[in-house]
């Protein structure tokens, strides 16, 4: 919720076209993910591991499968903007956004100048294949996924393929200070809900860069009219 002086999405340059909404206060949430229509295919390539990944061979296999999948499927970033001045926008945001969850986003491509909740999608990393549908659009819907819906996403998009380091204790045995109490636990509903400036700041950063944009399988000529569906966390 900061006045806009130079809105930039890293690697994407100064936003063009520039939505009217960004002339005032705004909140940005940044996500990343994979198109939902491609996720089943990715799941087939990588393979779920409901019992966990424990052996070195399993880790190697998972890493190779992820590498293959990431070659085929882009992982774009999505910047979603809300008005910081509009109480209705704030209510919508607070009702929906839950930190550390995956979301389904319905997106419509096209003009964003007067969009209530404009969205920009792209693949900013140097050396990556260009995201073919890099474009601007507007948010049609945002839904937090259920835990059951999240499970395969958390399984695939994890660091399970990375082995633990062997940090030997040495001759003195374990010591050191205990970890602090975690004061970021769930609220009474069991989830963290965006209610503070701090959380809005977090939204704008990469804690939430876990979007899974989904597009219907229509042809390129139909694409401008199609509705985009995104899933994120």
């Amino acid at each position: 919720m900061y006045p806009d002086t130079a809105v930039e999405a890293p690697g994407l340059g100064v936003l063009r076209p520039r939505p009217t909404l960004l002339a005032g206060k705004f909140v940005r949430a940044r996500f990343s993910g994979i198109r939902a229509s491609l996720f089943d295919e990715m799941k087939d390539i990588v393979g779920l591991s409901p019992d966990g990944i424990r052996s070195a061979a399993q880790r190697r296999q998972r890493r190779a499968a992820l590498q293959e999948a990431f070659k085929r499927f882009p992982v774009p970033v999505i910047d979603l903007f809300w008005s910081g001045d509009d109480p209705a926008a704030r209510r919508r945001r607070e009702r929906t956004m839950r930190l550390n969850h995956w979301f389904q986003l319905d997106l419509s491509p096209g003009d964003v100048l007067d969009a209530r909740e404009p969205v920009f999608i792209g693949e900013p990393d140097v050396g990556r294949p260009a995201e073919p549908e890099f474009e601007s659009g507007r948010l049609l819907g945002l839904r937090a996924l259920s835990q059951r819906e999240e499970e395969p996403l958390r399984d695939i998009f994890s660091l399970a393929h990375v082995p633990d380091a062997d940090l030997d204790d040495g001759p003195e045995g374990p010591a050191g200070a205990p970890p602090p109490d975690d004061d970021d636990g769930p609220d009474s509903n069991g989830v963290a809900v965006v209610t503070s400036e701090e959380q809005e700041e977090q939204l704008a950063q990469s804690e939430l860069e876990r979007v899974r944009p989904t597009y219907s399988g229509r042809t390129a000529t139909q694409r401008r009219e199609q509705q985009h569906v995104t899933i994120s966390r």
């Binding site: 990393d125 998009f157 633990d164 050191g176 200070a177 990469s206």
Partner: protein
Amino acid sequence: MSGKLERARIGGADVATIKAPTAVARAQGISGARIYDVGQGDAIAILNEAGGTILQLDYGGRQDNPFEGKSHVEVDQMLPVSTDALVMMTHWDEDHWSTAPKGDAAKAANWLVPRQVTSPRAVRFATELAKVRCIPEALVGRVFEYSAQNGDAILWQKIAKSSPSPSIHENCNRTGVAAALLRRSGGAGQVILLPGDAPFDEVPLFDDLRSAGTTLTGLVAYHHGSKYPLRNGTRALFRDWPVTPGGPCDIVFSYGAENSYGHPHRDRYDTLTTRREVATPDLRTTKAPYHDILFR
């Protein structure tokens, strides 16, 4: 303090390729930390007595970073990492690793990272690292020490456990790694604090160091100068922490100019009465690619 800080070493077949502790052990001493101007984000080199990098802490930079349009070779020159280096990541926010894919050297290095719930883009990046290992969750809270020959040390700690459940929000700023550099000379020694994005008062290691009677030579402001969480723990921590004689305490704010988060909030540090504030965007105006915090 020695009773609380555990000496640890890296060993075992699974991490046989992690060489940086050897580089630290080979160093005569640790001269300090080099904070690069990377725009919004962090990239910090730990320096030996000759100014060479013996460990790299984070390799990020997003908004207003100086790497746009640069070649792989240029990026490697701007943020140099040797082939036997260890890159440690404080946490998986993209502004702490996002420059690594733009070059070649960092990707070829050994990485030691926290195990956290993270983003698809971070997972993709992790698959591109040939030599990456996670800090075991069983060792959360423990302080590790890598010492140079004169006793100077890099101390680090993963400060909290990753989320055990999808229903519990994990703020990776507060489950990552925080580090400190320690020079054991003159009383209890002097320290340079490198918290990543963790508030200073949430790092038990820092509290131990203050309690041990160390003096403060410099620090990097946590989370690019963020003011959150809105409480006075950090201000209280520094209120009674004496500054190392011979100069002010260096406070480096590493952020991108005109970032949309409102960073930095310098008032978090106003209880440090003897301080010198350095903002990385100001370095660029003087064409300085980094600022060094050096022991006295």
